[in-house]
Symmetry: C2
Subunit: 320 residues, 2 copies
């Protein structure tokens, strides 16, 4: 029977039973953002809560994909069932995804214990911040206990998404200066664990001191947890077991203190707020069409009306 | 008389008469986003339209600030009055700006023909896409004929902002691979002029071929204008006159074809749409408080309600 003929419910059940193609298909349904997406989203929502997410972020070229690949290998040696969500930034204009590094993960493509999914930005900036938690929830609901979320880049969106994981790993390199210059503070704030990858290059100790110093200065609320700094070599897998131990230790720590629950509650509240905002945006797009809108636009272009007064005019109907 | 006692109108007039402190102050008023901001925004809107904006973007470390500084020197030798808007990304969490590179522009701090202003992201992602055009309009309204807009980083937000200039310069380096890997397509689409800065390093010709090849492949609507590729050395100023000639040539080209007007109209329409969206967001924040909201949140956290149904519930009142 073709999976195309299955109802969302049946697809979801098949995915829960371990059907990878069905899982791929419900994830695609989720991305459509329509009524069917809501339906499968609700199913996933009810069943989720057992998976644990590990975010991995860092500058392009830091070797995240190779490191993630080594990490997958380490986890598979322990028979852990995992899912990897690889978030690719794309042009804000075309919506196309750049999937270059994904090829490094092809090693695991035939392993049924590993499910890898790429997600692209798809034009709208806010899109990923809603579609990522939904995809994570789906992977969780179908029974993947460990979900690795890898984001490419250290822009605000990428850092924000990575920071929404239960444990966030920030990957740097020896001599990390320029590549993350633009968003050092953002990375410092989300990191639960630092990795100095490509540790066979020189400058590891300087980088370690650099991170330690920034942690000292940063005044972050790390009373309960001080982010460890792990040196790794992604290509050989060196340091990867230590990285994983650090993840497990962090998980234990935030489970014990109750921070895991408060993090998750906070994230869910944020998501709810964003859903409301997105619906209103949708409403805005509906408002911004038609004759009245065209007329106001013309007035603005002619400078007989300023943009803010035009917006007032448009919004009179919706109490905003 | 202290400028603090001046009304927004008086401050704006003082800024138009060349009072730099008054200009700095109206720009700060604009950033407040309140009723006074609207008032000065309206004044600027009416008087704007003569300035020309040049966007400069590229990966951190590409030498944009040094290049901009050399460009300023070149323009000042021709007695042009200019303004520089330096857009700094910041942590999505703290709102603090990273102003490191700005010091390189201090050379021009005492020159009355150069007005330099830094703007920070201030937490909210959408913020800069509205505050940047407003600041540009103000600099234009007070009589600055050339406005350079420099953005740090090649994330989506930065690229989007740089792409909103009349002429956009994308700064790369020889061997540019990794640093812009994440957003090559975005950079290709916005570039009116490419600069290979630090051209005293090796690899200039390879980079030039690389860019040319991407231009060939990119299928962009450059019938009327093929982005030139200029080699520069920011430190010595080499190549900067050629860069400026290219800017002038691009300006002439888009003025002649009418593309300048259609670009500006398009930008203004986008801005209007964004103002509407922002107002609705504000409304969403108002909705997302209070007892009903708290009650719905608790239900979502308890999994007795899913987030989408909760959003439906909240939005019933505003027709969204």
């Amino acid at each position: 029977m073709s999976r195309r003929n299955l109802s969302p419910n049946e697809l979801f059940d098949a995915a829960c039973a371990g059907d990878r193609a069905a899982l791929a298909r419900v994830l695609s349904l989720l991305e459509r953002g329509d009524a069917v997406a809501r339906e499968v989203g609700r199913l996933a929502y009810k069943k989720s809560g057992n998976g644990y997410t590990v975010g991995i972020t860092g500058a392009p070229g830091a070797g995240k994909s190779t490191l993630t690949s080594s990490l997958i290998k380490h986890l598979r040696q322990q028979q852990l069932e995992i899912a990897v969500l690889a978030i690719d930034p794309s042009s804000p204009f075309t919506g196309g995804a750049i999937l270059g590094d994904r090829v490094r993960m092809q090693d695991h493509a035939t392993d049924p214990g590993v499910f890898i999914r790429s997600m692209a930005t798809r034009g709208h900036l806010g899109g990923l911040s809603l579609s990522t938690p939904e995809a994570i929830r789906m992977l969780d609901a179908v029974g993947r206990e460990w979900i690795l979320v890898e984001t490419v880049g250290v822009g605000q969106v990428e850092v924000e998404i990575a920071g929404k994981a239960d444990t966030t790993v920030v990957v740097l390199n020896p001599g990390w200066g320029d590549s993350v210059q633009a968003n050092k503070a953002g990375l410092m704030e989300i990191a639960d664990i630092f990795v100095i990858n490509k540790a066979d290059r020189k400058g590891v100790e300087e980088t370690r001191r650099d991170i330690e110093q920034m942690l000292e200065l940063s005044d972050l609320p790390h009373e309960a947890w001080r982010p460890p700094i792990i040196a790794t070599i992604g290509n050989t897998g060196e340091g990867v077991p230590s990285l994983w131990d650090a993840v497990l230790e962090h998980r234990r720590a935030i489970e014990t203190t109750g921070e895991l629950k408060s993090r998750r509650d906070f994230r869910l509240r944020e998501e709810l707020r964003e859903i409301v905002a997105r619906r209103l945006e949708q409403r805005a797009r509906e408002i911004c069409t038609g004759e009245v809108w065209d007329g106001l636009q013309t007035q603005v272009l002619d400078k007989t009306l300023d943009p803010w007064s035009a917006a007032d005019e448009m919004l009179r109907g919706v109490g905003a």
